[in-house]
């Protein structure tokens, strides 16, 4: 009796994973396989490479998306790293409060956060009125008048519906994704390691460049991935803040599935290329960053 019970236990405890494996097979793996199949299929179901030729016509969109996402990721890193580093030097209580305040906006609906920027960036919006009131716009007009006397004076700074606004929206939405992993890696660095470096004669700068920064790289890699992937694939930010004036990858994919240009085969090909690009970039980063797989997955 005991042996039978033991045996059922051995079977059951492994069998617990089976429903999950089936579920993930159905709803994670199968859909991705279908994307690959669709990418190589014509609308009549025959094998084709035409979707990729078609996608190649959008090379400019790929270039623009990658560029904007890289710029946004870089800005997040330049702001986020010092922020995480400075925070790690504060006392435990303040750290906790500040970290919560950094995460708090993430709890607000993503669309609403992006929408909020519309009223700030508009031509007659709050930032422009502010710039006008402090005389910044007049100042700029004055300088422009000196540099090129023929230029029209500005009424406002054109910000909404520009690529600047799109990058700003990306930085705004994904900055916490950069700060959090970097912070959580820096905070775990043993103080004794830093003390050892100091005892061996390293000054502040050397401690940072030789000890703290290399040890924080896994966090940086993870932060870069977590900001780059959503940036390169977003269509909402471009729709709301960029006015979709210049198309990005996200818009292009969305259009093929729910938009006017209904063509899921082309959409799949573009999605597939995007996935491969992301994987390649992540691989390159991991290679340069010491290949700490665990950290890149956080």
């Amino acid at each position: 009796m005991k042996r039978i019970r033991r045996l059922t236990y051995e079977v059951v405890r492994r069998a617990l994973a089976v429903p999950y494996v089936v579920w993930m097979g159905l709803f994670v793996v199968a859909p991705l396989i279908m994307v690959v199949v669709y990418a190589f299929t014509a609308s009549d179901g025959a094998f084709t490479l035409g979707n990729f030729e078609h996608a190649a016509a959008y090379a400019q969109v790929f270039g623009r998306s990658l560029l904007l996402a890289l710029v946004a990721t870089l800005i997040c890193l330049v702001i986020g790293y010092p922020l995480a580093y400075a925070l790690s030097k504060e006392g435990a209580r303040l750290r906790k409060v500040v970290m919560m305040l950094i995460m708090l906006p993430m709890w607000m609906n993503f669309l609403l956060r992006t929408y909020a920027w519309m009223s700030l960036l508009e031509n007659t919006g709050l930032l422009n009125s502010f710039f006008k009131n402090i005389g910044l716009i007049d100042l700029v007009n004055l300088i422009r008048g000196w540099v090129s006397p023929s230029s029209e004076p500005l009424e406002f700074f054109p910000m909404i519906n520009t690529q600047f606004a799109v990058v700003l929206g990306m930085v705004y939405n994904y900055l916490p994704f950069m700060v959090l992993p970097i912070y959580s890696v820096i905070i775990k660095i043993e103080p004794s390691v830093i003390e050892a470096a100091q005892d061996l004669g390293a000054d502040g700068r050397r401690v940072f460049s030789r000890v703290v920064f290399p040890l924080s790289l896994p966090g940086v890699l993870s932060g870069v991935t977590m900001t780059f992937v959503p940036s390169v694939s977003t269509f909402v930010i471009n729709r709301l803040l960029g006015g979709s004036k210049s198309m990005l990858l996200g818009d292009l994919i969305e259009m093929q599935f729910l938009g006017s240009a209904y063509n899921p085969q082309l959409g799949s090909a573009i999605s597939l290329i995007m996935m491969v690009l992301i994987l390649v970039l992540m691989q390159v980063m991991n290679t340069f960053g010491g290949g700490d797989e665990e950290a890149s997955l956080l």
Binding site: L16, Y20, M34, L83, P105, F110, L111, L240, L297
Partner: protein, 266 residues
Amino acid sequence: MRKTRIPGRVLTILAFVFLYMPIVVLVVYSFNSGKSRSIWTGFTLDWYKQLLSNRMILNSLWITLLVSVIAALVATVAGTFSAVGLFNLKKRVRAVLLGINQIPVINADIITGVSMMILFVSARSVLGFKLGFGTLLIAHITFNIPYVILSVMPKLYQLDNNLFEAAQDLGATWIQAFYKVILPEIRPGIVNGLLIAFTMSIDDFVISYFTAGNSTQTLSMTIYAMTRRRISPEINAISTLMFAVVLTLLLVVNVRQMRESAKRLP
């Protein structure tokens, strides 16, 4: 090493101005009597009243809550059992499956969304169901389970292997041992997973957008439609309410945590 902290603090304050400026603007203009997003004309609560009588918004709020609660609960139960199952597998198999588990976490939302949409649309011709609440729920459960597994797994690794054996030696069946010994030990991971899953579901827009079809709308989808069509301060009113709810929840949780840790200290 202990140099001035001022540059770091200035940076932190600037970052907060950047992070909170749009939110403050949203909240303030939810009380603006005019329709403008940027010109102040006077105080009113009208937008809140209109919001509460807006069928479309209330309906989509209901859908969002329903799908988030069901998906989070199902994903938590399924994820917990799956984590235990995975934990008991051989190392290599487990590594492969955990790799697959990471896919929805790392992959771009839009790809998760369109890939499931392709599956559902193809299945429609075979099995005869439409995009709607069912497909929305399946999508949410699918992207929630990985987060539950990721938060339960570390607790399983921390578990003392002997606990389970000891319980059985003392006469517990393995089912009893699981419920009375293992479950309480991994509970923090389960609760954490539930919270993450719920938040992910509430906040999701992109995956819902591709998997919900035309007739079912979550709150995010309604908001998206509103931001596209017209400018209405009702949007500001919803955001203010949602922000207030989240803020209250976080405060309650944190005050409770602080009280508990204060109690533990003599």
